[in-house]
């Protein structure tokens, strides 16, 4: 869990990232703190398990001074999705993984699934797969960079919305 000092800094960063509405909506309650800290902890554990690098619930916030745009994009994802798995996917894209495939299936009032495969930008790396059955994960797709080369489609990068500070 975050210390009091870390939590205070986390709230400042959320505000700077255009997410002040979120803390206001929850009244910055103890429940909100518990929710966010637990989600960040679960994300850190999943990241460590998948990628083998140590991470804590505060690691992303610590990166903010030198990786502002990436942290802004990531925290906006945190506000949209409660899936630690999909948050690891977001972080991996922000680190530079290629988006090899995206498969989204939706049936009204029946089912939703989002399957994403990432590949390393370098030779030799293995593919990583991420799956979600929560329709909240659909919000993550709108952060993907979209481009065409030679008329062919590419999703690349994960970018923050330009949210005003509230």
């Amino acid at each position: 869990m975050m210390t009091e000092q870390q939590w205070g800094r986390a709230l400042e960063i959320l505000e700077e990232c255009g997410l002040g509405w979120w803390t206001k909506a929850t009244g910055n309650s103890a429940e909100f703190r518990q929710y966010l800290c637990s989600l960040m902890e679960a994300f850190a554990q999943e990241y460590t398990a998948r990628c083998g690098e140590a991470m804590t619930s505060f690691s992303v916030f610590e990166l903010y001074p030198r990786r502002q745009n990436q942290v802004r994009a990531f925290l906006q994802a945190v506000a949209s999705s409660s899936s630690p798995t999909m948050l690891v996917m977001v972080w991996r894209i922000l680190q530079g993984m290629n988006i090899k495939s995206v498969d989204m299936r939706y049936r009204m009032e029946e089912s939703f699934s989002l399957d994403v495969t990432l590949s390393s930008p370098y030779t030799g790396g293995s593919d990583e797969t991420y799956q979600s059955g929560d329709i909240d994960s659909a919000a993550l797709v709108r952060h993907l960079g979209i481009m065409k080369t030679n008329g062919k489609p590419i999703f690349d990068g994960f970018y923050p919305l330009h949210l005003r500070r509230s």
Binding site: G18, L19, W21, K24, A25, R66, R67, N69, L94, Q95, G96, S120, P121, Y122, R142, H143, G145, I146, M147, K148, T149, N150, G151, I154, D156, G157, Y159, P160, L161, H162, L163, R164, S166
Partner: protein, 131 residues
């Protein structure tokens, strides 16, 4: 001598994002591309996670190490045509300086950057409020 042509594309993307994307795009076309900081001439080591473009305003991307060496030795000689792209990122634009925009590879780069920088996400200012 060959002459560089400036392709200026309006941009609201962060400079770091634009340069990173330009490099990734070019390196798909030139798998052995070498990139350097345009201000210092220092070769950038694009390791994972990709953080090499933070704080930069311009990069030179060469087709490969031999192209970089040749540019360093003889400069804008016709033999070096379409082997280097200079990318400059400003607050409101990205400029691609290249030799022949009609070259097939150069067209891919220009189209890729144009479509990337046109993304709504870079242009729409949003305000999220409590419901």
């Amino acid at each position: 001598m060959i002459g560089g042509m400036d392709i200026r594309i309006k941009s609201r993307a962060e400079s770091e994002d634009a340069l990173r994307e330009a490099f990734l795009l070019i390196s798909r076309i030139w798998p052995h591309a070498v990139v350097e900081d345009a201000d210092t001439g220092k070769v950038l080591s694009v390791l994972f996670p990709i953080e090499a473009f933070a704080g930069l305003t311009g990069i030179m991307v060469y087709r490969d190490a031999a192209a970089r060496e040749s540019w360093g030795r003889i400069g804008a000689d016709p033999s070096n045509s379409n082997t280097m792209i200079h990318v400059i990122a400003n607050e409101d634009s990205v400029t691609l300086v290249l030799d022949d925009p009609d070259d097939a590879d150069m067209r891919k780069v220009v189209q890729g950057m144009e479509t990337f920088l046109a993304n709504d996400i870079f242009h729409i200012l949003a305000e999220r409020q409590v419901a």
